[in-house]
Every structure is written in structure tokens, then in C-alpha cells.
Symmetry: C2
Subunit: 302 residues, 2 copies
């Protein structure tokens, strides 16, 4: 069985097809690396690229990507709705198969050092790779954005982990780090009362005393086809092994019942590792002695 | 994404390690073929070998396996509890990934013809490859076993599909065919009254008017550690896409409730394709618009 690490970097260009393709080509042309997906958001002026491979392949592809992006993207002329601080803004590494968080942390440090050395872009280690608690959160690191970064890195607490206190003149700085696979999970209620979704979101999210590794908010969603409105509990499950999806579903169910509301449907946005779903199956069909690694056929194929 | 077909042939030797290893080696040495598992049962004097690959690789490995088994296994000197008619008794092909039932039927005919031509073993096409309704069921084909087969193939209705009416003198005849992946699924009730399990098994199995592609029986199971007894509904789900596992779970739940009984736990014996489990997750967490192929990460890796 081969090791699989996933990387999902965000690059600061979502409008120029030539630039985006040239960046994505760095992944395509790296042996052992598989491009899973890439998509661009014009208003954000930002693209997300998803690829997988073993540590060596992902290291190679990631360094190549940053070099190319630093060559082609000039943050001095970048506009867009989404906050950003670098040509490649953020580069997470996720353990998918036969590797640990520690492997991804090690990879992030290797890649971070090479990016600083070879592309001249200073790197902050973030999330599980963070060297200080306040660097775990990307938002905290990115505060001030590209325009404020030259000054920020001079502050005592904000020397980058690699590359020193001088930002790249056009490519800025970036964040690299290990993080668990994230599942974007939305639950629709059979009510248009958004306050119900907001109340439930507050109950389940870690920040307000709910489940660990759950971020959630309540939204009002309008069905484009019918014009009907629904209250939605929108979740980011940052560690589905810590807090499995079914626990959120069952909790939303019984909390919604207080208001006479029920779950209408749920959705997963984008990719989900199969284990996030098979864990739900194990719970609901009471597979108490199930051996995921040995018994799921696909684990022998990957 | 590569095509994956699984084969799970049963060979008529479960006692002689040299013979078994020589047969398994035919799989190991076929490029593009991956041996997933093999296990032997001494009292049955029978071994099960599990391997996967694309059609070409599985064809090659399967023909090689039959040649080797026909060379080493003599049914004239075979004893064992399990009924058998050939050195390789049965060879099913299961569509796992990027292939259809039709692909597996085609493969079974190709392999069947080659086995007859190259190993001299006559072949009955069975299950979904059957050329007559009465040949769908392996038990019907195998009736009479090796000892009665020379005479059986002379009967008007029992000419093998390939190889003519003369059985191989030592390797007999065999069955080759396409079949859907099967999930062995057991549900334990919190009662020792086996009659409850028998009643429920009768309700859910296809034979008695229950769900299509479900075979089930009621058993009394004794926990070896505690000596406690449980009624068990034991199921073979021969097509988990036709009848998903959750449908059996929910039906057993409400039928058991009639007796004041509940499901204590469930178990899957052996391998299970991830889709059999993710389908359950989709049901229970109400993922109404989920795209299994696109959204499950592992589908992009296999």
C-alpha cells in the first residue's frame, strides 16, 4: 500500500487562464503526483488546486508550484475579495493513507525550507505545524495581508519560520502546514427560520462549547429553482475522526426537535475521504467489531 | 482510473501447502494482478483465493491458475466435507470499478473458452453468465459432484458450455461466471430465541417473498467467551446495490420489535466494497444529492 498525502494550495490568481494553467502544469508534470481537481473563483481572484502523492512527489510538486507562482503572480497588482498574503497563499498537507500527522508536519518543514531557499518566499508554519500557538490559525498569520506583511514580519513575534524577515517583493509570504482532512457538511432544516439554524450552530461548534473540531454557522438558503427558503446549519468538520458526521447529524436532529423542526437533507461540498462516511455506516448499522483497514475492499487496492 | 475486476475462485485442496502455494503463485506472478487474500479450510479440503486486476490481467491469472490446479489436483483422490466437481471448482468474476456486469460476462466466456482449450477442463457458465436459467445456480450444476459428472454431462440438458461432453479425468469440470459482489452480513438480536431470527430471516429473504438478492437464515450463536446465546439473522447480500444493507437493518429492527427484541450488533464477514457502506451513510445522514464517484476522495486514487 502506497502512502498518500493530499495538498490543497490556494494561489492568488483566479482570472488569468495562462497563469493558472502554468501553475497547474507543475503538478501535472511531477511524476508520482496526481492532480485531482482545480477550480478558480474570479471574484476572489484565487484558485484552489488539489493533488495527491507520496511525500517525495508532493514535496517536488509543491516546491515547483511555488516557484512558478512566484514567477508569474505579482501581488502588487492583485485585487480580489478574498484576503491573501502570497502568490501561493496557503499550502496545507493532509494525511490520507499510510501516513501520520507527524509525516505531514515533517513534510511541511521540508517544503517550507525549500520554498524559502529556492523561491525566496518566506514561510510561516501553520495549523498542526505551527511553532507558536498564535500561528495555528491562518487568519491570524494573514492579518495585514500582502500590503502590510513587509512591516509585520519586522515585529518581534512575526519572524517567518523560514526565509527571514524580508518578504518576496512580488510573491509576499505564505503559510505551509499539516492539517487533518476537512469535510464541508451542510444540514438543511424544514424551516425558513434562520434563527433556529443559528441557535443550533452555536450549540454544536467547538468555539461555543460544542464538539471539538466543528466550526459551524447558521444561514438562510434560497432554492434558486423554487424560491423557497431554508435554514441551514453549515459545518466545517476539521477532524471527522475526532467528531464524526453522525454525531453532528443526531445532535442537530434532537436540537431541531425543540422547535418542531427536522433535517430535510444534508450535503457534503466537494471531496470526502471514504472513512468519514464508513464511520457513519458503522454507527448506524451497529458494526461494533468492524476493521476498516482490513475489511474495506478498496483499502487493498489503493 | 483503472478497471478493476475481482475473482474469488475456490480450489479443491485445503491441506497440501505445496499445492496451494503453487496455485497461488500463478496469481502472484501475473503482471497487473494483485493477490488480496487466500485461506484454506482443512475439513472442507478447499481454498479460496481472492485477486483483482483489469480484464486482461485477471484473464491471464485465471487461466494460469486452472492449468496449474488441473496439473496438481486429482479429484479421484479428493475427500472433504464441501461438495465439489473440479480441481478449480468455481471461478466468479465481480465488477468492482469502471466495468459492467457485461464486461464480466464477456470475460467469463473468454476465460471459459481458454480453460477448455488450454487446460482441457469443460466449463459451465453460471450465475449472470448462465446460458440457461437452471445453470444460474451453482448448486444445481454441481449436483452429482465429480463422481457423477462424467455421466451427467451426457444428459441432453447438461452439455458444458465449453469443452464438450468429456470431463477432465482428474480435474473434472468447473463453473465460471459473472456475479455481483456479495456481502456476508449478520445481525445479532438481544434474545436467545432462535425462532425469532428464523421468522425474520424468512420475511427478508427473496426466496420467501422478501427483498431481492437477499439470502438469509436464522441461527443460534453462542459467545465463546461468555457462553451467552444470541439469535442471529445471517444474510448473504448478493447485490447490495439492489437491496442495500440499511434496508435489511431497518426491516429487521421493526420486525424484531414485534417480539420486544432489538438489534444488539451487526457484523460484516470478510471484505466489503466501500459503496455498500457509503450507501448506508447516504441514507442515514440524508445525503440526497451525493455523487459517490466524484465526491469520494478514494475514487480518484484507485
Amino acid at each position: 500500500m502506497a502512502q498518500i498525502i493530499e495538498s490543497i494550495p490556494n494561489i492568488s490568481n483566479g482570472r488569468d487562464k495562462d497563469v493558472i494553467e502554468a501553475c497547474v502544469d507543475q503538478i501535472r508534470t511531477t511524476p508520482g503526483c496526481t492532480l485531482l481537481d482545480y477550480s478558480s473563483d474570479e471574484s476572489h481572484n484565487r484558485s484552489v488546486i488539489t493533488y495527491i502523492g507520496n511525500a517525495e512527489a508532493v514535496e517536488e510538486a509543491s516546491v515547483k508550484l511555488v516557484k512558478k507562482a512566484a514567477e508569474l503572480i505579482d501581488l502588487n497588482h492583485h485585487t480580489g475579495e478574498h484576503p491573501r498574503m502570497g502568490a501561493v497563499d496557503v499550502m496545507p498537507f493532509l494525511p490520507i493513507k499510510d501516513c501520520t500527522t507527524e509525516d505531514c508536519i515533517e513534510l511541511s518543514k521540508k517544503v517550507g525550507k525549500r520554498i524559502a531557499d529556492e523561491a525566496g518566499v518566506p514561510v510561516f508554519l501553520y495549523e498542526q505545524s505551527a511553532t507558536r500557538p498564535e500561528r495555528q490559525n491562518l487568519v491570524t498569520i494573514r492579518k495585514g495581508q500582502f500590503e502590510g506583511m513587509a512591516e509585520k514580519v519586522q515585529q518581534p513575534d512575526w519572524e517567518p519560520d523560514f526565509g527571514g524577515r524580508r518578504i518576496h517583493p512580488t510573491a509576499g509570504v505564505m503559510a505551509v502546514g499539516a492539517r487533518p482532512p476537512l469535510v464541508a457538511f451542510n444540514l438543511y432544516l424544514d424551516t425558513d427560520d434562520v434563527q433556529i439554524a443559528k441557535n443550533i450552530a452555536k450549540i454544536i461548534r467547538e468555539k461555543d462549547g460544542g464538539f471539538k473540531c466543528v466550526k459551524s454557522m447558521g444561514f438562510e438558503i434560497e432554492d434558486e429553482a423554487t424560491g423557497k427558503k431554508y435554514a441551514q446549519v453549515s459545518c466545517n468538520m476539521t477532524n471527522y475522526q475526532q467528531t464524526p458526521l453522525y454525531r453532528v447529524v443526531e445532535t442537530v436532529k434532537f436540537e431541531a426537535a425543540k422547535y418542531g423542526a427536522r433535517i430535510l437533507k444534508c450535503e457534503i461540498v466537494g471531496l470526502v475521504p471514504m472513512k468519514a462516511l464508513t464511520d457513519c455506516a458503522e454507527y448506524y448499522i451497529q458494526l461494533t467489531d468492524f476493521d476498516f483497514e482490513k475489511q474495506v475492499l478498496e483499502n487493498h487496492i489503493i
